[in-house]
């Protein structure tokens, strides 16, 4: 019975079926989505940990893999992330009361001067789906805002995103400031104009060429 719920939920997330009302994907139109199935599963006694580990994380792993192999593209990935988000809403109380343990906390933001968020959003949703708590600071995030978030979450890992060549240079001052107040805080950077060489040159601990690579790096540092 539980396995049935988990398989159905995993399928909803993998193929981006958010809820009953959503017309996507066409072959699942008119069927319950991640929202309804999660609710039913919890009522039927499936544990939140089982839902997270055996449905959501498994499905998002498949999604990330398909994306990195160019089998799916940004829209499909965002729909999967939205489906996962619809499920996650029902799990929030269990995270809050400690019933379910996350892998860690990830503070995320687009660097100051940069207003782009599609890459940041995509990565944030994928990281959440990989079992992390994500604190999204938004776009155009100033140094002080990153430092404030680290102060409140001292064990968190930090992710900084940039889309523009003019703003990627703002990442170094952010990393310098973070390392000066919290030398043990790990920082990962990502964004279209970046490269591994650039990430190393500005003192980042990690670089994600795509979401899957970033998640693998995050999982490695908590392994």
């Amino acid at each position: 019975m539980n396995q049935n719920f988990l398989e159905k939920l995993s399928e909803c997330v993998e193929f981006g079926k958010i809820n009953l009302a959503s017309p996507y994907p066409p072959q699942m139109k008119g069927f319950p989505g991640a929202d309804e199935i999660t609710k039913e599963a919890l009522e039927a006694g499936v544990t939140p940990t089982e839902i997270l580990n055996e449905a959501l994380i498994t499905a998002m792993n498949k999604v990330g893999q398909k994306f990195s192999e160019n089998k799916i593209f940004v829209p499909q990935m965002l729909l999967s992330a939205k489906a996962m988000g619809a499920s996650m809403i029902h799990l929030k109380p269990f995270f809050a009361n400690g019933t379910v343990q996350r892998k860690g906390t990830f503070i995320l933001g687009t660097v100051y001067g940069d207003l782009h968020d599609i890459g940041k959003n995509l990565f944030g949703m994928m990281v959440e789906g990989a079992g992390w708590e994500v604190i999204d600071l938004g776009i155009d995030v100033k140094i002080e805002k990153f430092l404030e978030a680290i102060e409140q979450n001292p064990t968190a890992v930090v992710g900084i995103s940039a889309l523009l060549t003019t703003t990627m240079v703002n990442m170094k001052p952010v990393i310098d400031a973070i390392k000066s107040v919290s030398p043990d805080t790990k920082v990962i950077v990502g964004g279209a104009p970046l490269s591994v060489e650039f990430a190393q040159s500005i003192g980042a601990d990690g670089y994600g060429k795509n979401p899957q690579e970033g998640i693998m790096w995050l999982d490695k540092i908590v392994a």
Binding site: P23, N70, V74, P75, L78, L79, G113, D117, T166, F198
Partner: protein, 330 residues
């Protein structure tokens, strides 16, 4: 056959066309904000590049906000950074229905038309290519880029209506650019590169083709730029009927040349950041030569940057690029 396409296909040399305006803006001592707001200044930047660099054509600024601003979107115009759209202008079926297709008098459009008119009138020894955003990329700036990605599956009718309105405006804008006297337009459609090939065909090609059909002829070329494409959208780009296709650095140029018809001019794709901005004169020479060697034998190839050169590219790197092409042709 189109004059520019014929020139490339019949020529014996590989031609170079880096997409650039920022080096010109910097050289004449103006800010990005001044150049994107004042047609005279933008023209002076284009003229400077024409006078100082041997390229096959001149290009205007790839500013992907001017059209969204005409629709009413709020635009952030930093002093020396590329402008960007902030917020979301439309969010659902009703707001899309109520969206009015603007006239060409709105926002900075008249300044862009002026820049193109001045460039076309004063640069007569080589083609001048105007620039505009593509329909899907414009719709994404009005609807929010993340939301439109999901919207094509959740609210396809609203997105198609929005795309029709964007296309109506872009057709009028491209007709006005053509009337300004330029020899073509680079239609920048980077957001479509985030879609699958099938979705690119439905949500970009169908609309870009309307622009191509409205303005492309023997004297006016449409160059479709899609730097987001990693290979899945190439057939959809070809299907637009554009005379020329411009590719970003994420793609294998040799593979693209094999895939595209030989009468379509194919341009690309040196990394504007990794090679032009962050590279050294030596690394620029090396990367340029490698690309020229890989693509040798394709008469429809024009070597270019994979996208608009960003601000603060060393002039020495642009010279190294052009000199390498010149040496290769000897």
């Amino acid at each position: 056959m189109n004059k520019f396409i014929n020139q490339i296909l019949q020529g014996s040399n590989v031609e170079a066309l880096p997409i650039m305006t920022h080096p010109g803006i910097e050289a004449i001592g103006k800010s990005v904000r001044e150049a994107v707001s004042d047609g005279n200044i933008q023209y002076q930047a284009i003229q400077y590049l024409h006078d100082h660099f041997k390229t096959v054509a001149c290009t205007s600024i790839m500013d992907l906000t001017v059209e969204a601003e005409a629709f009413g979107a709020t635009v952030n115009l930093p002093e020396n950074e590329i402008p960007s759209v902030t917020g979301r202008l439309v969010c659902d079926e009703e707001s899309v229905k109520n969206l009015v297709v603007p006239s060409l008098e709105k926002g900075r459009v008249p300044q862009y038309l002026l820049a193109n008119q001045l460039a076309a009138a004063n640069i007569t020894d080589k083609p001048v290519f105007s620039g505009c955003i593509g329909p899907f990329s414009l719709a994404g700036r009005l609807y929010d880029m993340s939301e439109i990605m999901v919207g094509i599956y959740i609210e396809p009718e609203s997105i198609q209506l929005l795309l029709s309105k964007c296309t109506e405006f872009l057709v009028a804008y491209c007709k006005a650019l053509k009337a300004s006297g330029t020899q073509g337009v680079i239609v920048a459609e980077p957001a479509a590169g985030l879609l699958s090939g099938e979705d690119c065909m439905t949500y970009s090609t169908f609309y870009v083709k309307q622009i191509v059909d409205a303005v492309q002829d023997d004297s006016f070329t449409v160059i479709l730029h899609n730097c987001g494409n990693t290979g899945q959208c190439t057939d959809a780009m070809v299907a637009t009927g554009a005379n020329a296709l411009h590719f970003g650095n994420a793609i294998d140029m040799e593979g693209v040349l094999k895939q595209c018809p030989s009468d379509v001019v194919v341009l690309g794709n040196l990394n504007p950041v990794g090679v032009f901005k962050q590279g050294t004169v030596e690394s620029v020479r090396e990367e340029t030569l490698q690309l020229l060697q890989k693509t040798a034998g394709y008469k429809n190839f024009v070597i270019s940057s994979g996208c608009d050169l960003p601000p603060n590219v060393p002039e020495a790197n642009i010279r190294a690029f052009l000199e390498t092409v010149e040496m290769f042709n000897i």
